[in-house]
């Protein structure tokens, strides 16, 4: 990189230096980029990224309550209601009355839901993989580890 184009975007000649060195900002931009292809893969299966998260958690952890899932995904539990309504409407998830606690529901995937989530997961992995030609396996693993460290660091304030 030469002296003249340092800190300057090649395409539009704009100096991003004050933002490009902020991890917070670069995470946002990278997330926006990934979100597009993630959302596109989900849309292909008739679903949204938010619903994918719920399916992915319940797939691996059947029987969780709505609040437990909302907590796992770090979203408000009031947002679960409409989301799970929709998933039930699609007949991929079902609310079963909890045995020990009559306030809550236990969430399970239907057989259709398991197959659906499997296919969805493969689609997402495949679509991400197509996009990730600029990352080798080591890069990818390292990035995931660093990102996890960031997420964990936040929990302890």
């Amino acid at each position: 990189m030469t002296d003249t184009d340092m800190n300057t975007d090649a395409h539009n000649g704009i100096d991003y230096s004050m933002l490009q060195s902020r991890i917070g900002y670069m995470l946002r931009r990278a997330q926006m980029a990934y979100f597009d292809i993630f959302a596109e893969a989900c849309a292909k299966e008739g679903i949204t990224p938010g619903l994918f998260g719920i399916l992915a958690i319940v797939y691996r952890n059947p029987g969780l309550t709505q609040t437990a899932v909302s907590s796992a995904l770090d979203v408000d539990r009031s947002a679960m209601v409409a989301a799970i309504d929709k998933l039930e409407e699609m007949e991929v998830m079902e609310r079963r009355k909890s045995q020990n606690d009559r306030r809550s529901y236990a969430l399970y995937l239907t057989d259709k839901g398991k197959a659906f989530t499997d296919r969805l997961n493969r689609t997402v992995i495949e679509r991400e993989s197509d996009f990730e030609h600029f990352l080798n396996e080591d890069d990818r693993e390292w990035l995931l580890k660093i990102l996890d460290r960031i997420v964990q660091a936040k929990k302890g304030n």
Copy 2:
């Protein structure tokens, strides 16, 4: 990491394996974590992350039009109107009539705005730095490079 807690969050015992291996998802979570401290640093100076972005671009690229800034930050140009109204109200930025094109404005920081952005930038850097004790300088540089690669990769679809 033992076999029993692999793919399982230590705190709540939930299996995140389907999400934890998705870069798109991890970027989202990491971005949420960073956004909190970024927004907090901005709030301390009476501003929002979005406005910080505009200040950072105009600081380094005085004279840009509103559309050019919106394009640089990848937001809709209609969102610029209220944002720059507020920055003018704070007397940190000003719209000057463009010489060659009477449709557009050229954006400049006031002296107050330059000092403000300097202080704001220091606050953000300092606050991020406090949070980044789990990253060494090599990690940080590497992460920024990877994130930039992701952002650039998206441009070429």
